[in-house]
């Protein structure tokens, strides 16, 4: 357990460094983008005078380094600053903008994960158990076809099938959640995006489970178990699975991270007020404080999930747990 504790503390420290690197990368990238907030907001209607007036009000006339330093100081004190969309008498706190969006994103991710993770690991185990049978091939082909369609396309097909007068109209085609929506309403509104995301991620996790299991099936200890006369499902569950956890957990963690970090297209199609959409909007508008805050939250989520994956990878491998 000592090794795990050490890893965790070390990783949290390193995670902070990663967050710092992310914030620098994002800040520089947004800086390098052509145009600024004023031009983005005014669009075709921007003139040099109005742009200059804008930049002065939101403090864009200060050098980039100063702006970055101010931002970092603020974040250290737990203050994510205000959006550039703020005006005199109209303060828009980044934290306030972000909180409901982050909650929505997490909700959708959790809902999808609850369906997708058991489903894909179960299917992966079954596919490994019945490898090279019609079942294996059918599951495999279906999942492959489901991931070879772009996300927005799966989303549209789901809408046509489940939310349009063309087929069955049982679910709402748009997921415009209000801040004060109840749990039932949320689940109902999130059903289609969750189904779409499930179809998108199941194949990857399922295939990796299957591959990892099959990979260890050739090991001497599995051979041994086989010779002892263990049943196939016993071999898979008792002997193969424990040794195949590392790649499976890694892929699951990656996909969970994807559920939070990569749903922007699905959010767009279903008009779901999540963080991905907020960040794309903010990038388009060059609203740097919001972009930065979104990036930080995304990065933190990702780091935590990976830390969990790494810890599980170590816990499940005695050789790593007790290094020589």
């Amino acid at each position: 357990m000592n090794a795990v504790l050490k890893i965790v503390t070390q990783r949290i420290g390193l995670g902070l460094i990663t967050l710092f690197v992310v914030s620098v990368i994002i800040f520089v990238a947004v800086l390098m983008l052509p145009g600024g907030f004023a031009e983005a907001i005014l669009g075709q209607a921007a003139t040099p005078e109005t742009v200059a007036a804008f930049n002065k009000e939101i403090g864009l006339d200060k050098p980039a380094v100063v702006r970055y330093a101010n931002w970092v100081t603020g974040v250290m004190h737990g203050d994510f600053g205000t959006s550039y969309a703020s005006r005199v008498g109209y303060r828009r706190d980044v934290a306030e903008m972000l909180a409901p969006r982050a909650f929505n994103t997490l909700f959708l991710a959790a809902m999808t994960a609850i369906i997708a993770v058991p489903l894909s690991i179960g299917l992966g185990l079954l596919a490994a158990l019945y490898r090279n049978t019609w079942f294996d091939r059918a599951i495999n082909s279906i999942s492959l076809i489901s991931i070879s369609f772009p996300e927005f396309f799966i989303a549209y097909i789901a809408i046509v099938l489940l939310a349009s007068p063309l087929m069955w109209r049982i679910l709402p085609p748009i997921s415009n959640i209000q801040d004060d929506a109840g749990l039932g309403e949320r689940i109902y509104r999130c059903a289609l995006p969750a189904i779409t995301m499930t179809l998108v991620i199941v194949a990857h996790m399922m295939r990796m489970t299957r591959a990892a299991i099959i990979n260890v099936l050739a090991s001497p200890y599995v051979e041994m178990a086989r010779l002892k006369g263990a049943k196939p499902w016993q071999i898979i569950l008792r002997h193969a699975l424990p040794n195949a956890w590392a790649p499976i957990v890694t892929v699951v963690a990656l996909n969970l991270a994807y559920l939070i970090v990569g749903v922007v297209v699905v959010e767009f199609v279903f008009t779901y007020p999540g963080m991905g959409k907020l960040m794309v909007d903010a990038v388009t508008a060059r609203d740097v404080p919001v972009v930065q805050a979104c990036a930080l939250v995304f990065a933190a989520t990702y780091i935590v999930l990976n830390l969990i994956a790494d810890v599980l990878g170590i816990v499940t491998n005695p050789r790593l747990m007790h290094p020589k």
């Binding site: 983008l33 052509p34 145009g35 907030f37 004023a38 031009e39 983005a40 907001i41 005014l42 669009g43 075709q44 209607a45 921007a46 003139t47 040099p48 005078e49 109005t50 007036a53 804008f54 009000e57 959006s83 550039y84 969309a85 005006r87 008498g89 109209y90 828009r92 903008m97 549209y156 809408i159 939310a163 349009s164 007068p165 109209r169 709402p172 085609p173 748009i174 415009n176 209000q178 801040d179 767009f268 199609v269 279903f270 008009t271 007020p273 959409k277 907020l278 909007d281 903010a282 990038v283 388009t284 508008a285 609203d287 919001v290």
Partner: protein, 530 residues
């Protein structure tokens, strides 16, 4: 007139106000000796004839961003425009469905001193949502909000001509630096709703204005919820009005067909026929002032040669673009940016229809056998701009012109490409008058003169026509300007686009305005549930 007939007449009136049900009405009609089918038709007609109150109206629009604010200075598009102006606010003047300026918050307006002065009389008894009376000071503060050196307003440029605004009891007097017969049109702009004055500026933060609806909740980039203003100076039909921001057109269409919204803007034209065939869905289509253009920077080669410009104007097959990309939902342009429905518009001759031979001839006149040019495009300019560029390339190839289509990122298109690259796709929302349109994009000193085109004769006429009060003389001047623009200008006008929207057949409406999309952004107060 028999007793039953009289009852029927009365019922017809009451149906219009929603006081008599379909069943009651049909019974009366049958009693009066009509057949059941005729009775049904009469009921529908009666129900349509007069608007009635009631219902929750849900509008899905393709615009809206998390950076939207209630400040009218920076209303970027139809979401904020419809919410902050059309539904919750009023300007001094509004444009009716024919495009004429009619009184709104000003009950009357007249010019003085050769249109150098304009006097607006404020409508009596109009209150803000908080109950406060609208005064001349509020009007002045609302205009001043967009003026001055620190202004960040998109309306700043149209107000630069104002040298002075002053109040005279219930009158507001604008003094301009030169006569402008079209000033009331400017006062109808959607950036200029009247707001309560506060501390030397206006209170836009609260969202309190004078309009038919009161703002209840606004989540930028997501939705806006409004309820009827019971104290509005006119009738308001819907009980409440919700706007949803649905950027993806497929999602918007799905939401409409599934009954999640009652009205959507900007339909997908490819599938319009199929949407139209859906039971319960209707299409609303008007040709607005908006147009798709390809400005060329006339200060650089090869666009500095008028013959090259003419060659390019003849080398584009506008009809094919309108038919193939916009499925006929538009009018092919003729290199005249004034929409055919605007006062003083002309159809300049010779028409620039697709003619590869003429294009070749003009190219030869410019001393070239062939020409290779880059055309920058992105769907950010207008939806379909990439396809339009590809079709242009095809048609121009037959005239010996090789157009290299360069796809630019949507993101930052207006900063990066427009007015930076020598030739690119662009869009104008259009303006309701010749003067306003020319002043915006074609005058030598216009900030958005995207062709960098400076024609002295054109600019002289522009100044003269503005203060000319004789309609006949003005018409001649504007005709000449449009001809110059057509022959010499640096802008290829591809087409005027239609505003194509779809709605549930439960909704009814009068004539649809063309000055902005969504019935002049006033769908909330102009439509009702049948």
């Amino acid at each position: 007139m028999s007793d039953s007939m009289e009852k029927l007449k009365l019922a017809e009136k009451l149906v219009g106000r929603g006081k008599v049900s379909r069943r009651q009405f049909v019974q009366l009609a049958l009693a009066a000796g009509f057949t059941a089918a005729v009775a049904e038709t009469m009921f529908v007609k009666a129900a349509r004839a007069e608007p009635k109150k009631g219902g929750s109206f849900r509008l899905g629009v393709g615009h809206g961003a998390t950076t939207d604010s209630l400040d009218p200075a920076t209303y970027p598009d139809q979401f904020t425009g419809t919410m902050g102006w059309g539904a919750t606010g009023n300007s001094l003047v509004e444009l009716n469905a024919k495009g004429e300026p009619v009184p709104d918050l000003a009950e009357s307006f007249e010019p003085a001193d050769d249109a150098k002065k304009w006097v607006f009389t404020i409508r009596k008894g109009v209150t803000f949502h908080n109950g406060k009376n609208v005064t001349a000071d509020d009007v002045i503060a609302s205009f001043r909000h967009h003026m001055g050196p620190d202004s960040k307003s998109a309306a700043k440029s149209i107000l630069t001509a104002i040298t002075d605004i002053k109040a005279d009891s219930d009158k507001v007097i604008f003094t301009l630096d030169a006569g402008n017969a079209d000033f009331p049109f400017l006062a109808s702009d959607y950036h200029l709703p009247i707001m309560p004055a506060k501390d030397g500026d206006v209170d836009w933060q609260s969202g309190i204005k004078t309009g038919p609806f009161k703002l209840v909740k606004f989540e930028p980039g997501v939705s806006a919820k409004m309820v009827r203003n019971e104290n509005y100076y006119k009738d308001v039909w819907f009980d409440d009005f919700t706007m949803l921001c649905i950027p993806d057109v497929a999602a918007r269409t799905a939401a409409l067909t599934a009954g999640e919204i009652d009205y959507m803007d900007r339909c997908d034209l490819k599938t319009l026929d199929l949407v139209k065939a859906t039971p319960g869905i209707k299409i609303s289509e008007v040709t607005g002032y908006g147009h798709y253009v390809i400005p060329m920077n006339v200060t650089v080669a090869p666009f500095n040669d008028v013959n090259v410009r003419l060659a390019l104007k003849y080398a584009i097959d506008r009809k094919a673009i309108v038919d193939k990309i916009f499925f006929g939902h538009g009018t092919p342009g003729n290199d005249n940016p004034i929409a055919p429905t605007v006062q003083f518009a002309i159809d300049a001759q010779p028409r620039h229809d697709y003619d590869p031979e003429k294009a070749k001839a003009y190219l030869k006149k410019a001393g070239m056998d062939s020409l290779k040019v880059d055309l920058s495009t992105a769907d950010a300019a207008f939806s379909g701009a990439i396809d339009a560029a590809v079709l242009y390339k095809e048609s121009a190839a037959k005239a010996g012109i090789d157009i290299n289509v360069v796809r630019e990122p949507d993101d930052g298109y207006w900063d990066n490409v427009w007015m930076k690259k020598p030739w690119c796709m662009s869009y104008w929302n259009g303006r309701p008058t010749c003067d306003w349109m020319f002043q915006t994009a074609y005058a030598a000193d216009a900030a958005w003169n995207d062709a960098f085109w400076k024609n002295p004769k054109f600019n002289d006429l522009l100044k003269a026509a503005r203060s000319e009060t004789d309609t006949k003389k003005r018409a001649d001047m504007y005709a000449e300007m449009q001809q110059i623009q057509h022959d010499d200008g640096g802008v290829v006008v591809i087409m005027f686009n239609n505003y194509v929207n779809a709605y549930s057949d439960k909704l009814t409406h009068g004539d649809v305005a063309a000055n902005w999309d969504i019935d002049g952004m006033k769908v909330g107060s102009r439509w009702w549930f049948a």
